[in-house]
Symmetry: C2
Subunit: 347 residues, 2 copies
């Protein structure tokens, strides 16, 4: 990286995550010296606001990354496979929100609060995790540091935003049609979404019966927590919620961890907010998690399904577009900046 104020590129700027990346950069006062908004030909020519100015989206091409310091990729695995190398060769550091490189040994997969120290071994590409894996490990990592985790069971309540802006629109439009008793044909997601839910639409592995989303979460959570063979059972479900993911987790530890201890650990964990009011029956909800940076954790209790007393149950909610995507990507960029400043100070 070359300048104090960095030249930033956002690939997939017109998508749901792209817009949130711009918002995070602006809100967090990231030192943006130049901004290139890149997307497919379909979105090229449209303008987006940044820092009070209109920035025109350009079509991404082989020459898009000249002079770019940090490139955020958020346009799906196919685009990342095509252009990430180009960007790295042009001298940019890539923060990739797609699944393309998340399991490559040479590419660190990072949630700063979980495994930020891994970041320094990057060779030009840093992978931003799957949204469920990021939100889940925000709750699990602090506990794991205190008491090793040996098994996880998860059921998710995933929002429309995970399938992009068009899916959010389809949920709104399909619901309005349902209420008006008008026919509605879903085109983004494979099932009716109004007042309905369905197993995650990622392809199902015929052998195991797990879908692609579940297998991603398992593999990525293991990498993020650095527990190679952690047994994780998970069911990923899309619910008619717009932009925050929730999940019910059961966590088995090496030895019992008390509810009070877990609550103390999580209360001190950066990026985590405890919402656990038994008396008021107030716990993490997507409506509260939407639009905020923190991951909400509550319903912390000893799991009645494990008589050994070694398991805790939790309920977690986090903004899919923020900690599950854009915010985490921008936090990774902030870590890069810190490292750069640290090495400049040391020099």
């Amino acid at each position: 990286m070359r300048s104090e104020n960095l030249v930033i590129a956002v690939v997939g700027a017109s998508g749901a995550v792209g817009a949130e990346i711009l918002d995070c950069l602006e809100k967090r006062d990231f030192p943006v010296g130049g901004l290139k908004l890149l997307a497919s030909a379909r979105s090229a020519g449209k303008a987006m606001r940044f820092d009070g100015k209109d920035v025109i989206i350009e079509e991404v091409s082989e020459s898009s990354f000249d002079g770019v310091d940090i490139a955020f990729f958020s346009a799906g695995a196919t685009t990342s496979r095509k252009y990430v190398d180009v960007a790295v060769k042009a001298g940019a550091v890539v923060i990739d929100n797609s699944s393309a490189f998340r399991l490559e040994p040479g590419v660190p997969l990072i949630v700063p609060e979980v495994n930020g120290a891994e970041l320094s071994r990057h060779k030009g590409v840093i992978a931003n995790p799957n949204c469920v894996a990021a939100i889940m490990t925000m709750a699990l990592a602090p506990l794991h540091r205190a008491r090793p985790i040996r098994r996880v069971a998860a059921a998710t309540y995933q929002s429309a935003s995970g399938a992009g802006a068009a899916a959010m629109e389809e949920l709104r439009d399909g619901t309005a049609a349902y209420l008006d008793e008008r026919p509605f044909q879903a085109s983004v997601l494979p099932h009716p979404y109004a007042f309905n839910l369905f197993s995650h639409n990622a392809d199902v592995d015929m052998e195991s019966g797990y879908n692609g989303e579940e297998l991603k979460v398992i593999a990525e959570a293991r990498r993020l927590l650095d527990i190679a063979d952690l047994p994780i059972g998970i069911t990923c479900v899309r619910v008619p919620v717009l932009r925050a993911h929730s999940m019910a987790l059961t966590v088995e530890f090496d030895s019992p961890l008390s509810v009070d201890e877990a609550r103390r650990i999580l209360a001190a964990a950066p990026g985590v907010r405890i919402v656990d009011d038994r008396e008021a029956n107030y716990f993490p909800m997507p409506s509260d998690a939407s639009g905020i940076d923190e991951v909400l954790v509550g319903r912390i209790r000893s799991d009645l399904g494990d008589p050994s007393g070694r398991s805790l149950a939790l309920f977690v909610a986090g903004d899919q577009l923020l900690k599950g995507a854009a915010l985490n990507a921008v936090q990774i960029a902030e870590c890069l900046l810190d490292q750069r400043m640290a090495s400049a100070a040391a020099a």
Copy 2:
């Protein structure tokens, strides 16, 4: 019971479950010789259709049950505690949909397909289980008969109907307001419901952190399956779905049960329909479960969270108002009728 065509009373006729009981009686050609619709003073005087005729709702009172053969109670635990004894003394057999007597040792708690044989030991009152317990055990009982279950983990996706017709209306109205960007004040449920979800609103036990719904399901599933101390870990969540409950289940068996074997067992289980198409990514959904009698079971797979290979994962959806309430109650009445005909034949 005195006549070939039975005199039926429905207490709580004007509620969501009451209406479904009438519908089930009609659709299933139950031999209704007389029908008394009973409710609070608020609903008295209103008419409901049954078998092509208007029936006027009467206010429930001490004398309501004279001449009644079978009384369905579906007006909450307080009404049941007040009037069930009155009905039994008047000679009626009570099928109670409230939680009032579900854990009383002398009162059989019945899902006909699960433990119908228990019905014969009734002393005038039969309890209809909690909706989640009924739907869950429809999937678990056939498996348990083949291979003993020793642990269950559940996360639920519960619909508005579980909180009654007013909650369904609140979900519709709140969602319409959200889409129109109008303010909306929830009054039935304690949290915003449009595109949101929340931990079940039943009071939370301050000691364990489990809520009343979860504790009901644990106690009732144990009774229905007749496994006194079965460890069950459960998280009950209300999702913005109108009338079918779904649940992600993980079931540990005494010894491994293969996916194929489980699918065969469930395919042969009465009242269960397998919806488990991995290739088409088609699994149980509330939209498919709503309005039908069968409980849908799918996503049958070996649980990756249990390396011992002794656990299966399932996803289940069932109509909360039908198998979770009204249908099961009417099926209990049909069993009573069968027993009566059997004893008449034997005499």
